[in-house]
């Protein structure tokens, strides 16, 4: 208990979460690793590491390089595959009362749909998050999330295959992320996660060699937070009824509040959890305290309350 009369519950794409702090996909593995630090049952929702149809060993190392106020990573979707996850990891999460959102990934529309079908009717799967930042092998390797039509086609296929809410995770790398958001919502997305990592690169200045084995990688951490807040705001302005999970560089309670005010109904912690393994807990408690201190009684009252300065 936080000892305050603050209502932390939030509604998101048909789900009711006890609190708005969720984990970012790929930053919490399957949850088991973090139980040493936090009670996974008390996290708003556990968004698990992306699952593919078959197991994947991922990319060679180096997979990570630290950059100013952030890090670049290129993991390559290492995961046990949806079947092994269903057998070994989901029951453990369900047993601990976790609200489980399953991130799905793949190389093609069929790949994603296959994973979504495997999750059909499975007790304990609250929602699906579609990782659109995957290269589409049927479209010259172009990342789904960069193209409105490819994004819509993918989300439509997953939504058809699924019996739970479908949340589309988008990237700010798209030239018009609002257009992508509209396209996936029209295709059946019940919610959006904004944003995935931002594509970046680091080069060793002496050797001239790319730091990552994969050359390019996803930038995360506080370095991308202003981009994420901007995207949440833009999309919320354009699509005010669509529930959004804000994601990108959250470290503090004030960061959480920024995302809520920009229009997010839940806020994901990713890289921040690497630094503070207790982050989901400290942010949940800290948010309640912050709201009480600032005279706010419900999370829902903060959502989308950001105002803009007068032009004159």
């Amino acid at each position: 208990m936080t000892g305050t009369n603050v209502d932390l519950t939030t509604r998101l794409a048909g789900l009711r979460l006890d609190n708005p702090i969720v984990t970012a996909s790929g930053c919490f593995a399957s949850g088991r690793e973090m139980q040493r630090f936090v009670d996974v049952g008390r996290i708003g929702a556990v968004v698990v590491k992306s699952l593919t149809a078959a197991p994947r060993e991922g990319l060679p190392t180096p997979r990570m390089v630290e950059t100013p106020s952030g890090m670049l990573n290129a993991i390559g979707l290492q995961n046990p595959g949806v079947d092994a996850w269903l057998a070994n990891d989901l029951p453990w999460l369900v047993e601990r009362g976790a609200t489980v959102v399953v991130s799905v990934a793949g190389d093609s529309v069929d790949d994603f749909a296959h994973v979504a079908r495997r999750l059909r009717g499975v007790e304990g799967v609250a929602a699906i998050e579609v990782n659109l930042s995957c290269p589409n092998v049927e479209h010259r390797g172009l990342v789904f999330a960069l193209d409105p039509q490819a994004s819509a086609e993918l989300v439509r296929a997953v939504a058809r295959a699924s019996d739970v809410p479908v949340i589309a995770k988008l990237t700010a790398d798209a030239s018009d992320v609002v257009a992508i958001a509209r396209a996936v919502v029209d295709a059946g997305a019940d919610g959006l996660t904004l944003i995935n990592t931002v594509l970046g690169m680091a080069i060793d200045p002496v050797s001239g060699v790319a730091e990552l084995a994969n050359t390019y990688g996803g930038l995360s951490g506080p370095a991308i937070r202003p981009i994420a807040v901007r995207v949440v705001h833009q999309v919320h302005q354009a699509l005010p009824d669509v529930p959004i999970i804000g994601c990108g560089g959250v470290r503090t309670v004030e960061d959480v509040v920024q995302f809520l005010r920009a229009g997010a109904r839940a806020v994901a912690v990713g890289t921040g959890g690497f630094v503070d393994p207790f982050a989901t807990e400290t942010l949940r408690e800290g948010l309640a305290a912050w709201m009480a201190e600032h005279g706010h009684t419900a999370v829902s009252d903060l959502v989308g309350t950001a105002t803009v300065r007068d032009a004159g």
């Binding site: 190392t61 390089v65 993991i75 290492q78 951490g221 506080p222 690497f274 630094v275 503070d276 393994p277």
Partner: protein
Amino acid sequence: MSDVMGRVEEDGPLRVVAEVVARRPSGPYVTLVLAAPELAARCRPGQFLEVAVDVPGTLLRRPLSIARAEVGEAGSLGTVSLVVGPEGEGSAWLGRVRTGQQLDVVGPLGRAFPIPQRPATCLLVGGGYGAAPLHYLTEVLVPLGHRVDLIVGAATEDTLLHSIEAKRLAHSLRTTTDDGSAGLHGRVTDAMPAVLARGDVDVVYACGPNAMLAAVSTVATRAGIPVRVALEERMACGLGVCFTCVIPVRDRDDEVRMRRSCIDGPVMDGARVQWRALGLAGAVEAAERVDLAAAGTDAP
């Protein structure tokens, strides 16, 4: 191996803010001693701590292997020691930390070196400041009745990590330097045949740079001796969730899988690590040329 090695039981990690109670520069390294009784009681050789650094724009903690843990007895405070190397901004900051300053640490993390279940002869091989955990391991092994032979190498004499305690406890200590400025002129693997030739070594433990671990694993495996190594791979979290610190390892079912060095390691079976896939074919091939019969050079 499995019949020699006991199961490693580890308590869960903690997050503590610990005061630096001593700071000891030695050559290019600095040893920091933290007052952390709860932490000290949980530490095992081979495990590491994730230490927050206060450098603007630096987000991630620094993984540092535990160089020593002393459980406080009868009123004395339990302490944990770390050896900080000279590379990188985070390490530079840690190297400047003063006595009395507080450090935010998470740990102990990772799997420790397994300890033999019956009296065994253990060859411990370390390089650079990566050798630090071997001194800790020596302090754990010797009181349990194990024989410890220590080989410590470095590029030059001033980068050799000295430990009076380990030297006193170990049954033998050999040093090597790449430039011949101290000890045997050569690599740690050049000092291994003399010890292995005795024929009594039950297990080899190693920590240091991965190229050295590849070489030591190759020599130990050629001699038919089990080898456990503490790996170093770039780590973002140290908690098992980011999947950046993976190492290709051949599992018992003969499949090669990417194992997380933070949670499946850092201590792994050196015979199962796929060193060539880590780009260390050169180190493996050099170690394949080491003359295992070169016992005549033994001069500890």
